[in-house]
Amino acid sequence: MSKKAQLLKRQAHKGHVSIIGAGPAGLIAALHIKKNAPSTKVTVIDREIFVGGILNQCIHPGFGLLEFGQELTGPEYAAKVSALCRDFEIEFLTETSVLSINKKLEVVALSPKYGAKKFQSKAIVLCTGCRERSRGALHIPGDRPSGIMTAGLAQKFINIDGLVPGSRVAILGSGDIGAIMARRLTLQGVEVAAVIEIKKSLSARPRNVIQCIVDFQIPIYLEHTITKIVGRERLEKIKVAKILSDGRADFSTEFEISCDTLLLSVGLIPENELAEMAGVALDAKSNGVIVDEKFMSSIPGIFACGNAMKIYDLVDHLSEDSKKAGESVAAYLTAPLVEGKQV
C-alpha cells in the first residue's frame, strides 16, 4: 500500500461512526447520519442474524401509524426502515457482538464469521435497547422451578419458533409486552389465569389494556403481589396477596393460583453495560444514558438514542427522536475543526 493510500485509509477511518444495535433506533440513526453527512462511513453492529432488533418478534399490529401513516406489524416496520437504509451505503455487521467500547471511541467487536475487529470511531451511537426485570431483581420469594420467564422471552419462543412455553399462565406486571402476550397466548389456546399488578391500575397503554386483557376477560388482580412461587420441578402454583398501603403483602388475603408458567412484565431497564464500561454517565434511577439536547452523553463523541437512553412506549416516538439523534451526530461529524477540536 502506498503512503498516500495509507493516509487516505486513515482519513476514511477518521470519519467512521459505529452504531451499536440494529433495532429501530440504530437503523434510523444510521439513515439520518448518512442523509446529512454522506461521506461518513457508518457501521451498524448487531449480535443477531437479522436487523430490526426486538421488532422482529413483535408480530402484532399497532406500529407505524405516526411514522408511516399506516398500521404495520413489528417485522413490517423493521422491513420498511431497513428498506430505507438500502438507499444508502451503510455497512451492517450482523452476528457481531460488541465486547467493549472506551472513551477514546475504540470499539472491539467479535463475530463467528470474521473474528475480532477493532474500530477507531469518530463517534459511537449507543442503540443497545433494554432488558426486562428478572425474578431475582424483583425478589419474588419461593422455589426455583422452570416455567418462570420474562414476557419478552416467551414472545420470542412463540413468535419466532412456534414454541409454546406453558399451558396455564399467570402474568406479573401489566406492561405492554405482558398485555400483548396475554392476548397472544389466549389466541393460541393457552389459558391466561391472571394478570397481577401491584399498582392501582394497569400500566400498559389503554389500547393494549382493552384489546389484549379486558376483551379476553382475563382476570385482573390490581394492588396484588406474588408472595410465593411453588413447584420443585415445573411451576405448580403461585401464592398471591393484596398489598397494604406500605407496599407489603397482607398475608391474611393470600390465595393460590395454579399455573405452570409465570411471565414477568414488570418494567424495562436500559441495557447500558457497554456505556458503563466506557464511563458514560447513567441516570441512577432509570439506568438510561444521560444525554444533552444533541443526544450526546457525558463523553464527547458517544451518543445514545432509543430505549438505551429512555424507555419508549411507542416505536414511532422512538424513531422520531432517533432521527434527531442521527442528525445531531451528522452535525457533530461535519462541524468545522477549530484548533483541532470540533465546535
Partner: protein, 502 residues
C-alpha cells in the same frame, strides 16, 4: 427349547453413591488406583444436590473445635487446595477472611478463635485493629472496631471443581452415571446395588449421599444419626459491584452457623448470606426463599457494609446443609458393615475439608481391599494416569471472558470460530463454551449454567435461554420440549405449534 435368561450385571471394585463435592473428590482420588470404579448420582447432573448452593469458600479453619473432624480436616484441606488447583488448573484465590467485631470487649472472642485456629494449624492468623481493618476494607462500617485476619482463606468455583474432578476421574477410567437413584443395597459376598435404572455389583460401597446419607445408611442397617436440613438463603449482587469487599467478611458466629457473610466470589459477584434455618424432616428438600430470610440478611449485611445497594441484587436462592442430628460433626470412615464406608453430614467446612477427606477415604478403601484380599495390592500406575490427565487438561475449554487482549481474542476465534458467538452477554459466554459443556455431559440448562456461568448474570437468562435451548436441542439431538432446567418435569417448552408431541 427353553432358554434361560442370564443377565450379567456390571461389577465394580468400588461404587460411590452421590455426585456432590465429596463423592466426586473421592472418585477422583480412587481413579488414581488400579480399580474399577463407578459413581451413582440420583439427580440429572453432578453438583445438583447440596453442592449446588455452596458458597465456594475455602475456610481458614479457625472456626472449628480442634477435637472434631471438622477441625482436623479443615486446615488440612485448605492447604491442599494450592496443589489441587494447580494440578487441575482451576482458578483459586486466597482472598483471606476477616472475622469482624463491633465492640472492644469482643476482642476476647477473637483471641479464642485465634487460639483454636493455631491448634488447628491455621497459618498467618493476626488480630488487627479498626484502623488496619478499614485500610484493608474501606467500605466496611465505621462501627466495626477490629478483626481476626486469616490470609489463608480463599474462594473457588465449587461447580467448576466438581465437573473438573469428574472429567479427570473419567479420563482415568471411572464411570459416572446420573439420574440413577439407589433404591436398595444388599450384601452377600459382595454388595448388590439396585437403582432406578439398573443393578450393579461391587466389593466396596461409599456413602456420600449428602441429604440422603441417612437413607443409604439405613439400607445397610448401619446406625447413623438422622440427617437434618439447615437451610441457607443466599443473594447475589450484580458483578459491577465487584470489589466492594476484597476479603470474605464474617461476623462473630452463632451456635447454628458461621453467621451471615459477605463473600467476594471467585467469578466476581458478591454473595450475601446464608441464613441458618433448621428444617423439619419432611422439609429437608424445601429450597424456597422467603421475605424473612431476605430481610434478615439485608439487615445483618447492612450493619457491616452500609454501602450495599438492594437494587443491585440479581438473584436469590437457597441451599441445604446436611447436619447429623445431635452430632454436629462429619461422619467419616468404615462402619459396622465391612466394605461399607461413609462420608456424610458434610456441612461447612465440607468443601474445604473435601480433598483431605477424599485422600483418607481412598486410603481406607484401598487398605480394606488389599487386607481383605479382595484385590491384589498394586502400586499407583502413576505414569499412565499422568499422561491421561495431561491430555484432559489440554482439552479444558478456554473462557471468552478471561481473554482480555485483542490478539488473544483473534487467536481464540481462529482456534474455534464458535468462540465468536457470544450467547450469554452478561457473563460473556461463547457458543464454543456452551457446546463444550454439553459435550462434557450437561443435559440441562442448569448443567450448562453451572459449567459455563451462562444465565448467571444480571438478565438471569432472559436473553440467552432461547439460543441455549436451540443449541442443546441440536447438539443432544432431541426436540426443544425435551430440554429442561434441571431434569425430570422441569421443561421449558410445553408445545410446538403445528406439531404433536408424542
Amino acid at each position: 427349547m427353553k432358554r434361560k435368561k442370564t443377565v450379567n450385571f456390571p461389577s465394580y471394585d468400588v461404587v460411590v453413591i452421590g455426585g456432590g463435592i465429596i463423592g466426586t473428590f473421592i472418585l477422583y482420588e480412587l481413579s488414581h488406583l488400579p480399580l474399577k470404579i463407578l459413581l451413582l448420582e440420583k439427580e440429572e447432573d453432578l453438583a445438583f444436590g447440596v453442592s449446588k448452593a455452596n458458597s465456594g469458600i475455602i475456610h481458614a479453619g479457625f472456626h472449628e473445635d480442634p477435637k472434631t473432624l471438622k477441625g482436623h480436616y479443615c486446615a488440612k484441606g485448605n492447604a491442599l487446595y494450592s496443589k489441587i488447583s494447580k494440578k487441575l488448573q482451576l482458578p483459586f484465590k486466597r482472598v483471606g477472611e476477616l472475622l469482624v467485631i463491633k465492640e472492644e470487649r469482643e476482642y476476647s472472642a477473637l483471641h479464642e478463635f485465634m487460639k483454636k485456629g493455631e491448634q488447628n494449624k491455621v497459618t498467618g492468623l493476626k488480630i488487627i485493629d479498626g484502623i488496619e481493618l478499614h485500610r484493608l476494607e474501606p467500605h466496611l462500617s465505621e462501627q466495626l472496631v477490629g478483626a481476626l485476619y486469616a490470609p489463608s482463606a480463599g474462594v473457588i468455583n465449587p461447580y467448576e471443581l466438581i465437573y473438573t474432578l469428574a472429567r479427570f476421574a473419567r479420563c482415568n477410567g471411572a464411570t459416572l452415571l446420573r439420574g440413577e437413584e439407589v433404591i436398595a443395597i444388599t450384601k452377600d459376598n459382595s454388595f448388590h446395588i439396585y437403582t432406578s435404572k439398573g443393578r450393579y455389583h461391587s466389593k466396596v460401597v461409599i456413602n456420600a449421599a449428602g441429604m440422603n446419607g441417612d437413607t443409604i445408611a439405613a439400607m445397610m442397617g448401619v446406625a447413623t444419626p438422622a440427617i437434618e436440613g439447615r437451610k441457607g438463603q443466599e443473594y447475589l449482587l450484580d458483578k459491577k459491584h465487584k470489589g466492594l469487599v476484597k476479603h470474605i467478611i464474617f461476623p462473630l458466629p452463632t451456635p447454628e452457623s458461621k453467621g451471615t457473610l459477605i463473600i467476594p466470589t471467585l467469578d466476581g459477584p458478591i454473595m450475601l448470606g446464608p441464613t441458618a434455618e433448621n428444617m423439619q424432616a419432611k422439609d429437608r428438600e424445601d429450597l424456597s426463599t422467603d421475605q424473612c430470610g431476605y430481610q434478615e440478611i439485608m439487615e445483618r449485611v447492612k450493619f457491616m457494609l452500609p454501602a450495599i445497594n438492594e437494587r443491585a441484587i440479581i438473584a436469590g436462592f437457597s441451599g441445604m446443609r446436611p447436619i447429623p442430628r445431635e452430632h454436629h460433626d462429619f461422619i467419616i470412615g468404615n462402619t459396622s458393615v465391612a466394605g461399607f464406608f461413609q462420608a456424610i453430614g458434610m456441612h461447612s467446612p465440607g468443601l474445604t475439608a473435601a480433598p483431605a477427606i477424599a485422600m483418607d477415604v481412598a486410603k481406607m478403601v484401598s487398605n480394606y481391599l488389599s487386607e481383605s484380599k479382595l484385590i491384589q495390592k498394586q502400586k499407583r500406575c502413576s505414569k499412565d494416569y499422568q499422561q491421561k490427565e495431561h491430555h484432559c487438561l489440554c482439552h479444558t475449554p478456554k473462557k471468552l471472558r478471561e481473554v482480555k487482549k485483542f490478539s488473544e481474542l483473534q487467536k481464540l476465534w481462529k482456534s474455534d470460530p464458535e468462540y465468536g458467538e457470544v450467547v450469554c452477554r452478561c457473563e460473556e459466554v461463547s457458543l464454543a463454551e456452551i457446546r463444550a459443556a454439553i459435550r462434557d455431559g450437561a443435559t440441562t440448562l442448569d448443567g450448562v449454567k453451572f459449567r459455563t456461568r451462562m444465565g448467571m448474570g444480571r438478565c438471569q437468562g432472559a436473553f440467552c435461554t432461547y439460543r441455549a435451548i436451540e443449541v442443546m436441542a441440536s447438539e443432544l439431538a432431541v426436540p426443544h420440549h425435551k430440554i429442561s432446567k434441571k431434569g425430570k418435569k422441569s421443561t421449558i417448552i410445553v408445545a410446538t405449534l403445528g406439531k404433536d408431541h408424542e
